[in-house]
Symmetry: C2
Subunit: 282 residues, 2 copies
């Protein structure tokens, strides 16, 4: 049982952690922290939060479990304040989509004061954002990647893993830089590609949007994702994103060359092997 659960940022992910912890009775007290108190009101009114504040130091003082659920670079920026104010027995985790930056920031702060941090990435996002779409069952059956390093406290890793499992998730561990390459590949690159696809169509043939069918809609669903969230994800995972995009351009070149050369047989072979790869993850 958690004495006080402090959640920094009560949007889709932070709000869903709060709702799930409340409905499962995992914490005695749940406190939300935000820049704007009025935006925390819905979670207070519906009983998800016991308290709401704009004061990080105040919220984390008594907390023994702290979840950073603001946009990734905001989490990194606020970590020092969390670190300075948290109770000695506190475990800190986050829900950000990139991990190298925040894990490095935590390891720098550990030089000044020993505190337990474990990075988490619940792969349960949506193109929708905000507390209004938070759900107690968001993590049921979802995949959560935790990113311990050699410096990580074993008991903290266990407590963070247990929280996610209690929320219904499957937990895997990857080191932070492998994590960042994996999510660059299966999440950040697809978002970049979906954004570019919508942008390209409106530039190339604006009237074409009127003829968009299910293929275009599915391929670009995530192009409606939150700009403020994706700005931070792209910037915080710049290097892995750049390298995954390089791989993508090479794949695009290969298919384009076969089309330009009219090499139908090899084109069909390449598409068949891609189809098989895609079907394996269906």
């Amino acid at each position: 049982l958690i004495r006080r659960l402090a959640i920094l940022g009560v949007g889709l992910l932070g709000g869903s952690v709060a709702k799930a912890a409340r409905s499962l009775g995992l914490a005695q007290e749940i406190v939300g922290i935000g820049r704007d108190l009025t935006r925390l009101q819905p979670a207070l009114r519906d009983g998800t939060l016991d308290g709401a504040t704009t004061d990080i130091a105040d919220a984390v003082r008594q907390a023994n479990f702290i979840v950073l659920a603001a946009p990734v670079l905001v989490n990194e920026r606020l970590l020092a304040e969390v670190w300075a104010g948290a109770a000695a027995d506190a475990v800190v985790t986050d829900v950000g989509s990139t991990k190298s930056g925040i894990v490095a920031a935590a390891e720098r702060l550990a030089g000044s004061r020993s505190l337990a941090f474990v990075g988490s990435h619940p792969m349960a996002g949506s193109e929708q954002a905000g507390y209004g779409v938070a759900r107690a069952d968001l993590f049921q059956g979802a995949s959560v990647i935790v990113t311990p390093t050699d410096a990580t406290d074993g008991r903290a890793l266990k407590r963070v893993t247990e929280l996610w499992e209690a929320l219904g998730a499957h937990v895997s561990a990857l080191d932070p830089s492998t994590h960042d390459r994996v999510v660059a590949a299966v999440s950040h690159l697809p978002h970049l590609v979906a954004f570019a696809l919508v942008d390209a169509v409106r530039a190339f043939e604006p009237g074409a949007m009127a003829f968009a069918a299910r293929g275009f809609k599915d391929t670009t669903r995530i192009a409606a994702s939150e700009p403020a969230v994706w700005r931070e994800i792209f910037l915080s995972n710049r290097e892995a994103l750049r390298r995954s995009t390089e791989a993508f351009r090479a794949a695009l070149d290969r298919i384009e060359t076969l089309v330009a050369d009219g090499d139908g047989d090899r084109l069909e072979t390449v598409i068949a092997s891609i189809k098989a790869e895609r079907e394996a993850i269906r």
Copy 2:
């Protein structure tokens, strides 16, 4: 009422035209043409077809409505044989995803013998293929683009439009080259991008596929499309596909440059305008 409806290629699209025409009682007789008689048996057995043959001349001789529903380049190749054998009052259409090639082929053939051809493109495909997934209601609410030119016979255009409307589709008309740019933008480019995305991920970080969530799955659903179908579509719409891919690379460059420059504010503005564009077609 159609006297004899001849359908060349009884797969997802051809089979769905046959099933819909049968269930709506639009044709006295429905004949399927294929390379392999055994593959036409299911449609004979379930009563969708009255006859099945491998002989094009035989099937089209009595037909006054002919639908070409083989892969696009096969349709183009077989058009001469259809043209030579069809009844004088026949209307010929196709269901291919590219239109400039087949319309040009029909206009060349019209020099030898006057016959009514109108290109059609029902935008109701699927990544699945074959008669097994054909459905009588496939075209209900779907968009069908017909591609008349100055040389198109008005009555034939009317008959083809009426058939699609009877099948529940919304029909719009575009000239063949505008059509090919439109579908390059909202269908062929997204397929190329989805294929390249799967190919890139397996090259860049093969283990990442295990962490694919809904975003990746939706973005790459169409990467499981039929290789033989997409080989033909890409090759037959090479030029428009090349130009749409050029626009896509430019869009990718623009976002990548903002990320590389760390220009978060402009990045957020660009993503916000893309999000708005995408939401407009939701």
